[in-house]
């Protein structure tokens, strides 16, 4: 009569890979095999948050009497064998269990914020409590002064994970010392950086850690109300957080007389409506107040004058989710990870051209090489690493020859990038750096709120210049013009959006100037920029199979069966369908 626990990943990657279908398959197989009757009530099925290695989803942990086996890339049709051979027969299905790569992925990681993510049932508050959840809040409410709490957070060295890296304890202290009848704490869950999903995964995988972090923060600064500003593109995170808030209320962790004190604290959700700039704290406040999300100049800082003019602490999701673990295990423990100035761990969304894509948590100061090669398993398809983009639209590119750099606030800033919120996108030889700069400018230009001129018009001009370069219409002096304009926008813009928008341009020019120069000469070295490409078919490789002809959407390809095919450059729309479909590498682009 053994106890069986089945944990299925229902994180962002798990769901996209069919996690819900895997769960139904388990349900029906367990019912058919009458497992619960055989091994009594000992068999339970749980939905859990992100395991981390999304590229091997759906991941399933099977824990029999405490012994864990992980299955990777599970499909519904595989469930029957897992149930009959492993759960009933007690013999793991070896060919489907996690391989060496899976274990290597975790070796260099240190999980703090994510320590419970993928292990606890996000829908079940008891699951969080049984792992020590709400113990930190209890400790704070029962025996710590607000001063002691802020001191503890200050000592931990925790810095804001939303991008700017401001010391959290210092922010809390400033707000605590500001006298006011009403104060607020806001959790910034806008996660606007495209290509990053740390905050989504944390909320979906362990919503109570965020709530507990806010609760502790409210105690430290003296706020009775909290808001979570969450982007509407994350419906699942909204749903799970709502559910968790309701549960926390029912258990008395939220509401009045928390832990027997006279204190009350409530959390309300505010849904974003799709605007990147609303991640900026003053714009976020305007948006919660129901207005157009326009930033205002700082000072006054929100800790003195924030939501509805009241002192307000705004913290990122990951920052807040760290708090309970720091209080529980102590600041000394937390600050034992990381470097002198960048303490603790950081979650990154590792994506792009690496083999293992997913969510990772590493100690600050780890090298980029360790992240890409040891954790990420190297570059996909045997291609060469070109650069790593960090910090999204506000960040920069780190070239391949600097891959031994330490990943912490100071080191990345030194080379013209930032840690940012944690997006880490790996680029290979097939990515064009001018195209990347243009991509980010397209984003920031369309997301500029339009309030200040340098950002509104400056980003537009930057984008125009980049666009003409990628179209082969660049002019002499364009690169210098980009550099000058970038510097002006950085120094004159009102908020962080404009102040950082030129970074992708500056860092790509700094490290990949040759690519810019090649574009000015009419060549895209990575063969990405459409206007600079021609597609043609190599006679010696073409077998006349007709695959390209069928794939071509614009009927630009002609040719008889088993004879050489031809692309008419006048008709070709350069979509690349023929290139992708040809099995004989006969289509060439230059």
């Amino acid at each position: 009569m053994s106890s069986v626990k089945i944990m299925v990943c229902m994180g962002p990657g798990g769901i996209a890979s069919g996690g819900a279908e895997v769960i139904s398959a388990f349900e029906s197989e367990l019912r058919q095999a009458n497992v619960s009757a055989d091994i009594h009530k000992g068999c339970s099925l749980h939905k859990v948050g992100c395991f981390g290695l999304c590229s091997k989803d759906v991941l399933v942990d099977l824990i029999i009497d405490g012994a864990k086996t992980t299955y990777q890339s599970v499909k519904p049709e595989m469930v029957r064998r897992i149930v009959s051979e492993h759960i009933i027969g007690n013999l793991p299905v070896a060919e489907w269990t996690a391989d060496e790569n899976y274990h290597n992925f975790y070796k260099k990681q240190v999980k703090v914020v994510l320590s419970d993510c993928g292990r606890i049932d996000y829908e079940n508050i008891d699951s969080y409590i049984s792992e020590g959840g709400y113990k930190a809040a209890e400790k704070v409410f029962a025996g710590m002064t607000p001063e002691a709490v802020t001191a503890e957070i200050k000592n931990s060295g925790l810095r804001g994970r939303g991008g700017a890296g401001f010391p959290t304890g210092v922010k809390w202290e400033a707000c605590r010392k500001t006298a006011a009848g009403q104060k607020y704490i806001i959790c910034n869950a806008d996660e606007g950086d495209p290509g990053a999903f740390m905050d989504r995964a944390v909320i979906e995988g362990n919503p109570h850690a965020v709530i507990e972090g806010m609760l502790i923060g409210s105690y430290a600064i003296g706020a009775s109300r909290g808001y979570v500003y969450i982007r509407a593109e994350y419906p699942l995170a909204v749903e799970r957080l709502k559910y968790a808030i309701k549960d926390a209320h029912e258990r008395g962790f939220l509401g009045s007389n928390i832990f027997g004190s006279k204190l009350k604290f409530d959390i309300q959700l505010k849904l974003g409506a799709g605007a990147f700039v609303c991640g900026e704290e003053t714009a976020l406040i305007a948006s919660i107040e129901g207005q157009r999300g326009m930033p205002r100049p700082k000072p006054p800082y929100p800790v003195f004058q924030g939501l509805w003019g009241k002192p307000t602490v705004i913290n990122n999701v990951e920052t807040l989710a760290n708090i309970p673990y720091i209080i529980k295990k102590g600041s000394a423990w937390y600050s034992s990870y990381g470097t002198e100035k960048s303490k603790g761990t950081k979650v990154f969304a590792l994506t792009g051209k690496v083999k293992n894509t997913g969510l990772i948590e590493v100690p600050m100061g780890i090298t980029l090489r360790e992240i890409i090669y040891d954790i990420g398993g190297g570059i996909e398809g045997g291609k060469a690493l070109k650069a790593v983009q960090t910090g999204g639209p506000s960040g920069g590119c780190i070239p391949a020859n600097m891959v031994d750099i330490n990943v912490d606030y100071e080191s990345l800033a030194r080379v013209g990038s930032i840690v940012g919120s944690g997006g880490m996108i790996v680029l290979d030889e097939d990515n064009c750096m001018v195209n990347m700069a243009q991509y980010f400018l397209q984003f920031t230009q369309s997301e500029s709120c339009g309030k200040c001129v340098p950002c509104r018009i400056g980003t537009k001009r930057l984008l125009e210049i980049l666009s003409r370069i990628t179209k082969g219409k660049g002019r002499d002096g364009d690169i210098e013009l980009l550099e000058k304009l970038s510097r002006d926008i950085k120094s004159a813009s009102l908020c962080g959006l404009g102040q950082t928008a030129p970074n992708p341009v500056l860092s790509t020019i700094k490290y990949f100037r040759n690519e810019y120069e090649a574009h000015l000469k009419g060549k895209c070295p990575a063969a990405v920029c459409k206007e600079l490409l021609t597609y043609y078919i190599l006679e010696e490789f073409c077998k006349g199979c007709g695959a390209c002809l069928r794939a071509c959407p614009s009927k630009a390809i002609t040719g008889e069966k088993k004879k050489l095919h031809k692309i008419d450059p006048a008709v070709c729309v350069k979509c690349g369908a023929c290139f992708d479909v040809c099995k004989f590498k006969a289509v060439k682009k230059e």
Binding site: P194, S287, E289, T351, P553, A577
Partner: protein, 154 residues
């Protein structure tokens, strides 16, 4: 329409709503922001319609025109971009016969949209088809899905 608007009004009063949440509520119910709805709220709340318009056009979630019955949302976030989302989007536009800046097919059946990131970056490129997420999208898979949608629409 009147009835629905009354209902929205009631909900928003209960939930301490504001301009944004009213518009979100309207969008959720009608699939876009009808001018009449804005005028109705403008009168009832004594807030100029231009304020609604200002908020509506600021946020990308709001639409001033009705959208197709099927929504295909292609992610063009950074992770998806480096994995070729642009190619997918232009192929989809071609498959749906969308010209110039049109985003909805002539028969009003299918709308093709872009989104900055869906938070499923590790499965890039990602396309959302009627709210169902499809990761590791390829040209063939996308074309097949679009053909299915078109067929169902007939």
């Amino acid at each position: 329409m009147e009835k629905t608007l009354e209902k929205i009004m009631k909900e928003e009063i209960e939930n301490e709503g504001n301009l944004i949440s009213i518009l979100q509520n309207i969008e959720a119910r009608f699939g876009y922001i009808p001018e009449d709805a804005v005028n109705w709220f403008s009168k009832r709340l004594d807030v100029p319609a231009s304020r609604f318009y200002g908020v509506t056009t600021f946020y990308s979630q709001f639409h001033l025109k009705p959208r197709g019955r099927n929504i295909v949302t292609a992610c063009c976030g950074t992770a998806c971009h480096v994995k070729g989302s642009e190619k997918l989007i232009s192929a989809a536009a071609m498959e749906l016969n969308l010209k110039n800046d049109e985003d909805t097919t002539e028969n009003g059946e299918i709308t093709l949209e872009r989104v900055a990131c869906l938070g499923t970056c590790s499965m890039a490129p990602v396309v959302l088809i009627n709210k169902k997420i499809h990761g590791k999208m390829t040209l063939e898979k996308l074309k097949k899905e679009l053909k299915l949608l078109k067929k169902a629409a007939q």
